[in-house]
Symmetry: C2
Subunit: 154 residues, 2 copies
């Protein structure tokens, strides 16, 4: 997600919060700014707590509260780790993606695939259910022999 889009997300977050009747506060604002800056890839709640503590704001409770609020407003997605750690990323309003987890390094890379979305839609139809959300998580290892492997960049 580009910087421009991050700006847009920040504005969106601001608006939604205000519309939902929330006031502004230093801690939540700090969380939102951090997410806009670095939340394009998954950030663990603990990461966020750590970053903000460095900056001298926020406490665990506050960060979790802020993230829960953002999640309720649909501004962030929660990605469940295999290790009992909650991870968050900003919800891209014009895009939907899934995750590949490298089993060796624990790194998480996003990807999207149109056909995958289509098939999931048809599966839901076949099952006769109304879909509200769906997660696809692939686990494995990046193939070093493939130059296009998603490991080249952070």
């Amino acid at each position: 997600m580009s910087g421009v889009s991050a700006e847009r997300w920040l504005a969106l977050a601001d608006r939604r919060l205000r519309e939902a009747g929330y006031r502004s506060g230093s801690a939540r604002s700090a969380v939102i700014e951090l997410m806009a800056r670095e939340g394009h890839c998954v950030l663990s709640a603990q990461d966020i707590v750590g970053r903000l503590r460095q900056a001298g704001v926020g406490s665990a409770a506050t960060v979790y509260r802020a993230l829960e609020t953002l999640h309720e407003l649909g501004l962030v997605h929660r990605v469940d780790g295999r290790d009992g750690v909650a991870r968050y990323e900003i919800a891209d309003p014009d895009g939907h993606h899934h995750h590949f987890v490298d089993e060796r390094t624990g790194e998480v890379w996003p990807f999207e695939d149109e056909e995958l979305e289509r098939v999931i839609g048809s599966v839901a139809e076949r099952l006769g259910v109304r879909l509200l959300a769906h997660d696809v998580t692939l686990r494995g290892t990046a193939r070093e022999d493939t130059p296009g492997a998603p490991g080249a960049t952070t």
Copy 2:
């Protein structure tokens, strides 16, 4: 999974453990039996601990050790809960399935879809990664078409 198949899984587990050089022990056997009996749908680790404690065997440490061993041998799958709770189910040797979670009732339904598997395979190929596992979790509501049910998508 049927009772017959549960028998088969039990035998398979027995064989794989022996082949891998494990000895038999009361606690692990109890975990395996419980999984064969009730593990066709997801069981949380805590559930298992509780059941076995009722029966007077096993401790938390032992149960987690046993489940880890079974997971390493590919005998069970781990399903990550949204709540930081590890859930397990027996790995059906002749079938791979995913889960639909009813958001209203919390019920979990397994399903399988051949095309979904195929698309996931091709996505992995496109990404240039070696796939070790993959989870697909659909969330939504069963469609008995309740008027007034939450209707958003994605």
